[in-house]
């Protein structure tokens, strides 16, 4: 009988979590509702489902371009942070880096810096470099929080690799870059995948920098386009719902399809003390 009770408890938890997702699921349903039925609730379920809101978003809004911008900025931020962060983490984990202690403290502390404090100096930097309203501005600004995050977690992962392996590689005549590429990188690949995934997600979701450093469709990312979604006379709730769902595609894919890597990356930040 215990097993039946356990099953009931499991199902109860799943039902609760399905209810917990209702704010999102309700938006999914809204995005398929005919315009005329949006403000008529109840009934909860519409008489027909329509793709017209998605049509409007794809043909008459800034979202298609914003999706491209977000994808580009997310991928480039992740690539930049990993390209700079992984060698630094390798050195911090395996070599005697001068002032390694203060450096690591600075890296960890900077993951806590509030964006609202660094946004005004960064704004002046972007203006001076003529980067306002470009992908480059967003990639550099996002790297300011992505790079410390990558260094912090990758240093942790690389410290777990036994010293004997690097020594063996050195005896085989491998240089330090060679050791990084053929020993440390393959062994920390799952960790790196998690870190890259989270970095991409942070960049995809980032709003404050993107809102500040962009001015036109040329560089506006998805959160900015969604925040500025235009309504001429009345709020286009159906179109906004469709745009929200499009903005949620990568997070949903990550949570459903790449859950293992997401969870590993999240927990690495706190549980391996």
């Amino acid at each position: 009988m215990t097993s039946r009770r356990a099953l009931v408890a499991d199902v109860a938890v799943l039902v609760f979590l399905a209810l917990y997702a209702v704010p999102f699921l309700w938006q999914v349903l809204t995005s398929f509702k005919p315009e005329a039925e949006l403000l008529r609730v109840p009934p909860l379920w519409p008489t027909t489902l329509t793709l017209s809101h998605y049509e409007v978003v794809f043909t008459q809004s800034a979202m298609p371009r914003a999706l491209l911008n977000s994808l580009g900025v997310g991928v480039l931020t992740t690539a930049l942070a990993c390209a700079l962060g992984v060698p630094a983490a390798f050195a911090l984990a395996t070599l005697r880096v001068p002032a390694a202690g203060p450096l690591m403290l600075g890296v960890v502390a900077s993951t806590a810096f509030p964006q609202i404090a660094t946004v005004s100096p960064l704004y002046l930097v972007m203006r001076a470099l003529g980067l306002r309203d470009t992908w480059a501005a967003l990639v550099l600004a996002d790297a300011s929080f992505a790079l410390p995050f990558v260094i912090w977690l990758m240093t942790r992962f690389m410290r777990e690799i036994p010293r004997e392996l690097s020594e063996a590689a050195a005896l085989d005549g491998a240089g330090r870059w060679r050791t990084l590429l053929s020993v440390h990188l393959p062994l920390t690949a799952p960790g790196l995948a998690s870190v890259a995934l989270l970095t991409f997600l942070f960049a995809w979701n980032e709003f404050l920098f993107a809102f500040t450093f962009t001015a036109t469709e040329a560089s506006r990312t998805v959160p900015v386009a969604l925040a500025l979604f235009p309504g001429v006379f009345e709020v286009p709730w159906g179109d906004i719902a469709a745009a929200s769902i499009l903005a949620s595609i990568p997070p949903v894919l990550i949570v459903v399809g790449l859950q293992r890597w997401l969870v590993r990356g999240l927990l690495a930040g706190a549980l391996t003390e």
């Binding site: 399905a18 660094t118 946004v119 960064l122 404050l208 949570v255 927990l267």
Partner: protein
């Protein structure tokens, strides 16, 4: 220092240099520069740029809007972090024995956390709609959640709890999975009931995780911006305006870079104070252990 050590040092510097230079330019530099900016009167559109000393801070000390934003930030942080920890802990305990649909459960749970803050703001704006919002329909009331001075801040807190409780639940859940069954068997042999087991076995083992999530969540709540900026815009009548929203408005809507930076510095100091307090608690715990 031997030749080999010198070579290792040189190599190490080569590996960290690109990252260090980038961090200096994009993270450490701006973090220091903002303190200097906060001491200047700087309004780029009018070409104003001169030293102002502590004038901005002196103004803020008696600025009712600043103290209102300070209070809103404090209430928002305390209320949402407390609720998240309680609900997250409860859900983690409920998830402990989950055998059926564990992946689906985690996906449903983490979805709310993984969405962009702006999407969350849009979801709740629609849920709180006075005429067609699901909240009013479900409760059978006709409240203007985001427009009512008494309801706007609780409505904002609720949206934030929805978004971040999964983070707490996941951390507690992961820690619970690592507690060996033998610990609970021993407690049962000793005749400990459910309440006693929770109080004397589970809770102490969860304490370090609760402490670290408390830190992460407090820092994030103090820094939060996107949710309130899009959901309420600080309204009605400034009643949900946090320090971050006030800073943003000053920086980029009234274009007073020096003044806005001063508010940013205050958020910065608050965040660092919380982190320092956490470190000292951690050190005391380690010394006691």
């Amino acid at each position: 220092m031997t030749a080999r050590e010198r070579a290792e040092r040189r190599a190490a510097i080569g590996f960290v240099a690109p990252a260090v230079v980038t961090l200096a330019a994009l993270t450490a530099g701006p973090a220091l520069w903002v303190f200097w900016l906060s001491l200047r009167q700087r309004v780029p559109v009018f070409g104003i740029d001169h030293f102002a000393g502590i004038a901005h801070y002196a103004f803020l000390a008696t600025d009712p809007r600043f103290w209102s934003a300070f209070r809103v930030t404090a209430v928002f942080t305390v209320a949402s972090v407390a609720l998240e920890l309680l609900l997250g802990l409860g859900l983690a305990l409920a998830l402990r024995g989950q055998r059926v649909g564990r992946r689906a459960a985690l996906a449903l749970l983490l979805l709310a956390w993984a969405l962009p803050g702006v999407v969350t703001a849009r979801l709740f704006e629609w849920l709180y709609h006075p005429a067609a919002g699901l909240v009013n329909v479900a409760l059978g009331v006709a409240l203007n959640w985001l427009g009512d001075p008494a309801l706007a801040l609780p409505a904002l807190v609720l949206a934030d709890v929805w978004r971040t409780m999964p983070f707490v639940a996941l951390f507690c859940h992961a820690r619970l999975l690592t507690i060996p069954a033998a610990v609970y068997e021993a407690a049962a042999v000793d005749g400990a009931g459910r309440a006693a087991t929770f109080r004397f076995v589970t809770l102490p083992l969860l304490a370090p995780v609760l402490l670290v999530t408390l830190l992460f969540r407090t820092l994030d709540a103090l820094r939060a911006f996107d949710l309130m900026f899009v959901l309420t815009g600080g309204g009605p009548a400034g009643l949900t305006e946090t320090l971050t929203v006030y800073a943003y408005r000053s920086l980029f809507q009234t274009l007073r870079l020096g003044f806005g930076s001063a508010i940013g510095v205050i958020v910065f100091v608050l965040v660092m104070a919380v982190a320092a307090a956490y470190l000292s608690v951690l050190r005391r715990r380690e010394a006691a252990a």
